[in-house]
Symmetry: C2
Subunit: 326 residues, 2 copies
């Protein structure tokens, strides 16, 4: 149905107008198509991107058991109390086979389900073409053009997929329970590079002080000349302890980004490069795997590679039309 209405140029304008006006039904349909990496929505996304950029985007990641969903509930409550409207995008990088953690979180987050100021949307990995991080960025582009004050992007785990996804946020929270014996865990998978605020949740558990110290040492070691020195917040989301400090830090970060100096400009450029690379990758994957787009020439090249008469590097170069790029 939507593919019919979205085909013509006029209806792109129509969908864009509805999204900008905050129409949730249109948003829900558009987000489904975005989740499936439907190429037909690209004209809509192009327009929405240019209209966005002003929403505060908070990325939250951390291992299962860190108390992430309780913490997010706390953040939502505080933001709602000051009148902000919030979109929550919960992204599960594991396959459709699992999804337990995210779905469980959803149930708890449903205390906000009847609140018109909170819009919650889940997104899971689909199909062999990958591109979940790209789909998450597209979803953010949709939500960013809607009249929300804050977007929260949540992912479970601290793997490469999670890092790629929260990279699209302006402010990244890494939430962890105390586990002083295993301090390396905190800094794997490049999360160190993207975390802006380290939250040590369940700070009443033993080892919390030592864990905070470990994080501080590692930050001091790695960030001695960084533009934004990541902060560390100890919290107990269950009782609300430390939530005010956390919200203050999020606010401080927002002011820092509003400063828009040379450093934040560099960060913005880096983010856009990642985004462009992800979109390119998705376009390439579609070209390679979508049989409908195949030319007979490409087909016969792949067959030659199978017979070892040709190599995959040459085919890749031909596909990208860069000729003798190397």
């Amino acid at each position: 149905m939507m593919s019919m209405t979205m085909g013509a140029e006029a209806s792109v304008t129509d969908v864009v107008a509805k999204i900008v006006a905050g129409d949730r039904k249109t948003a829900a349909r558009l987000l489904s198509r975005v989740e499936h990496n439907d190429p037909a929505v690209i004209p809509v996304l192009k327009s929405l991107y240019r209209l966005g950029g002003s929403t505060d985007i908070i990325g939250i990641t951390g291992p299962p058991g860190a108390g992430k969903s309780t913490l997010i509930n706390g953040i939502i409550q505080q933001l709602r109390a000051r009148g902000d409207s919030i979109a929550v995008l919960a992204v599960d990088p594991s396959s459709p086979f699992t999804g337990g953690a995210i779905l469980g979180d959803r149930v708890r987050m449903n205390q906000h389900a009847s609140d018109r100021g909170v819009f919650i949307r889940s997104m899971a990995a689909r199909g062999h073409l990958g591109g979940l991080s790209k789909a998450a960025a597209d979803a953010i582009t949709v939500l960013d053009a809607m009249p929300f004050d804050v977007i929260i992007v949540e992912t479970v785990g601290v793997g490469q997929s999670e890092v790629d996804i929260v990279r699209h946020a302006n402010t990244v929270l890494l939430v962890q329970p105390p586990s002083a014996g295993d301090k390396i865990q905190a800094f794997k998978s490049g999360i160190m590079e993207v975390a802006d605020i380290f939250v040590v949740n369940k700070a009443d558990l033993p080892g919390a002080d030592e864990f905070v110290r470990n994080i501080r040492e590692t930050i001091t070691l790695h960030y001695h000349d960084a533009e934004w020195m990541p902060s560390i917040v100890a919290s107990q989301a269950n009782s609300g302890e430390g939530m005010d400090v956390l919200l203050d830090e999020i606010e401080r970060r927002r002011h820092y980004l509003d400063g828009e100096d040379r450093n934040t400009e560099q960060r913005g450029i880096r983010k856009i490069k990642y985004r462009v690379a992800e979109i390119c990758e998705q376009l390439v994957r579609r070209q390679v795997f979508d049989e409908r787009d195949w030319s007979g020439e490409f087909h016969s090249q792949i067959e030659k590679v199978r017979l070892r008469e040709l190599d995959p590097y040459s085919v890749a170069e031909m596909l990208l039309a860069w000729g003798n790029a190397e």
Copy 2:
């Protein structure tokens, strides 16, 4: 040093000849450059690819604690006993910050270090350009052209990175300890799609029988019309129990692949497509992130995106020179 000798066409031939002859010093140097995704080695890889294709490539993955390294030691012993020479490529998809597990495994595998018939090489994630799976495939291309009978590719974990890496193998073993209460774990992250042999190791632990039953049910459900029905092997790598059955299954798989019917042909084409897509992605990432390759035009486009005068989708399309592909 090597960049000098590898620059001219004549020396590509020289390096290729040495690799084919089994020169390990040349291989070690080449693999280092492959690990860093050095574009200068592409001409060598092109030649080596066309010379390969006959080596049996076994991919082994599974969560930490599954007893993978003990199992691999057992497989190596059995293969050595029948006279095979073996290359082991241990790939760690977590960042340079960790690497503990793989390094630990290496120490244990060192019982084979003095054996000339066994060549062991580790490979870890490097830099922000990613591409570890692509680098692993390139390393396999090098080892495949050398006179080894079998290549074992080992990765830790069952995340998307691990799936991408073992996908380059002909036979994929998923090694797991019994954990009947958590059967979903076995099938996450698309591993179900690529596993050819399910190994339930530490089969003396409680719950092993139930876990095997669970796997069998899930396989029956998903693979009712598949070309290769994945087999399930219960093993105790510590005592050697089940290792003969496992080697028989690996052998049976090899014979199946030698059959080269329509199904294995399809599988081969699928593998090549993944390979081509990965190489394209690496080329795109280099184009986007490597400042030296930048044209001023691209630079100013990124700046326009930052100011929301342009969108990242349009830049991606221009970068791929596909114009109005959508």
